[in-house]
Structure formats: C-alpha cells, structure tokens
Subunit: 218 residues, 2 copies
Amino acid sequence: MTITITAFERSPDGGRGLARDTRVRWALEEVGLPYEVRFVSFRAMKEPAHLALHPFGQIPTYEEGDLALFETGAIVFHIAHRHAGLLPDDANARARAITWMFAALNTVEPPILELANARLLESDKSWFEERLPLVEDRVRNRLKQLSARLGDAEWLDGAFSVGDLMMVSVLLRLKPSGLLNEFPNLVAYVARGEARPAYERAFDAQLAAYRASHRPAD
Amino acid sequence: MTITITAFERSPDGGRGLARDTRVRWALEEVGLPYEVRFVSFRAMKEPAHLALHPFGQIPTYEEGDLALFETGAIVFHIAHRHAGLLPDDANARARAITWMFAALNTVEPPILELANARLLESDKSWFEERLPLVEDRVRNRLKQLSARLGDAEWLDGAFSVGDLMMVSVLLRLKPSGLLNEFPNLVAYVARGEARPAYERAFDAQLAAYRASHRPAD
C-alpha cells in the first residue's frame, strides 16, 4: 500500500531539514519503507482540502490506504509501532523508548518552540533583546537536565530508538542558536543521529525537494 | 502489581486539578486500575533520588513492578495501551485516537505553556501587558482550528478516547484565562470531559490531597 506524506512546496528553512517532514522521512527510512511526497503550498495548507486532512493546517500528513493521520509524533509512532526497527521487543524497554519520544515533544520542544517564536515573531519588538536571555535559559535548563541524564551513553536508553529519533530531531532545531554547543555530549549525540544512513537519506531527499522548488524558472 | 505514581506534596494550583498527576489519575480511573500516590516536595523533586526516576525533575512518574516511567503523555499512553477503555479496537481508529493525544501535547499545549510562562514568569516585566495579547492570539489560533474540527461532535473522533482525555486536560489549563469562553463548543467539550465519573474521581482524589497538605498543623 503506497504511503504518501505531505511537505512544504517551498520550505522556509533554507534546506536545513528542520521542517517536520524530515522526522517522518527519517522514520520511514529507518524501517525501510518507500514513500511518496505531495508538496503543499502555504496557501493550500489553509484551504478546506488540506484542513480535512490536517485540522491545524500544517505538514506533514500521512496517508496509507484508508488511513489518514496528521501530527508528526503520531505519524512517527505509527511507523515505529507497525514496523520493526525503531522500538525494542521487550515491553518495558518499548515503554521507555516511547517515554523519550513524549519527553522530546512535550518537555524539551516547548521551550524551543518558544525561542523560535521569539526570534520569528518578536524580533522587531522593543522587548526582544532583553527578553531573549530569559527564553534561552528555559531551553538551557532542559538541555542541562538532558545532558546530565545522557552522560556518556550513545543513546538515551540502550539501542537507538524512536525516542532518540525524536529527541535528535528536536535538538536539531537549536543548531542555529548555538545553545547546543554548551553541552558537548548533546552535540555528539545529535551528530550520531545525523550520521545514521537513514537520516542522511531523509536529509538528502528533503534537500533535493528544497533545491528543486528554489531553482530559478527555466 | 501495585501502581505508584508521584504528585506534588503541596500542589501550587489551589486545588484546581491542573497539575499533571490529574491526567494520569484520570486515565487510571477510566480503565479501573487502583493506584497509590507518593507525594514529593519541590526540594525532593530536584534531588538525585527523584531525578533518577524523572530526569527533568517533575511529577508525575509511574512505577509498576520493575517498570519506571516518566512524562505524562507516555504514562497515559502506557495505561491506554495495556488496558481496555481508552483506545478503540479497530487499528486505524486507534492510530487516530493516538494522533489526537500527540496533537494535544505538541500542537495545542505549547502555546498554552507559553501563555502560562508569560503569566507566571514575566508578569513583572515592562513588556508583559503589551506582549500578552500576542501570546493569547497564538493560543486563540489553535482553539479556532480545534473548534472548527470538533463542530458539534461529542468527542474528537467517534467514542471518547485517550485523545479526548489529553485534549480536555490541556484545555482545562485555559480555564483561568477566559480564552476558552470564546469557543462555546470547546467549553461544552471540556464540560463533558469533566462530567465523566472517572474524571470526577481523579479530581476529587487530587483535591483531597491538596486539602490535606494545606490543612493548618494540628
């Protein structure tokens, strides 16, 4: 059954792979599933056809036969749950890997989103410069705790899992900020994620799409 | 096997049930599992014994035999996955219910957390009054989209599921802000959640704990 995901027609991230379709592409590559991509414009994302698929008007979405899903975490979990390669067999280890996925999305990512909002939506405000360090400290606190837990382990809990896939993806958003560099073990952790052949394939695929969409008209 | 969760020794929410242990209590009540609660002080939450259980120094945690979990979403998912009552039997419907759980935690809750941070951590700042409407609009945008999707349905996708449990729990955090009142169908949706006997038992249990901890010393 063909899997079709959606991605930005013209990604605004400069080809850095920070749009959330990269997370889904990575999961699909880890379990070895082929997929197709339908590109959606910013305008089309807010129109009824796409909103029927994604009530919050975002990408990615996931279609497979008569199943339609939205929300990156749910899509990545679905892939990990249905196919071997991203979750351990042992039930308790499985629950712990899933725990890290939720921790990435609901504990580590929210302050990172707040930082992104500050930079993207409030950089022209009078308070921007003074407020930025407060927001950065919220991110830093989480990184400090994560760094302490990871220590010199390779991955968060035993072998690489969907929890690492999601945590690395969330941390990648911090690269432009330089904040990650304060935690060398997290830098190395993210680099291990990026060095996985499945991540490289996912990154290259989104980069090819980015370049195609930003090519000058023939 | 005894299930033990952790909760604030002295909840800072005035007994309104907004601390995240209420979400876990609710899930346990929905599936009919008894549980014990270990109360943790703010000081103990940041000490090594608790950090070993919860790397981000928060509550709730979940212990059952040799399984130890943290992160509310992961705990609630674990309960829903292992016990009947919170997920539909049909595989596709199950994936959609899980989708709503992730949407609650990673799309709807982040702007609500940002609003909570503004009120809790920045109310003494010079920019607070001017910035607040911007943050409220971020929440409002998500509520508008959620309200449009819900329409006049009772729950988000068919029967009540773990997706509704999480979405209602996230929306409950907005009650003090008044923002929810702009969307009557969401107000009714949250009220339906609160009217469930399992929610009422969970709410009453956390309230009893709150009252016991705030009782003047005998």
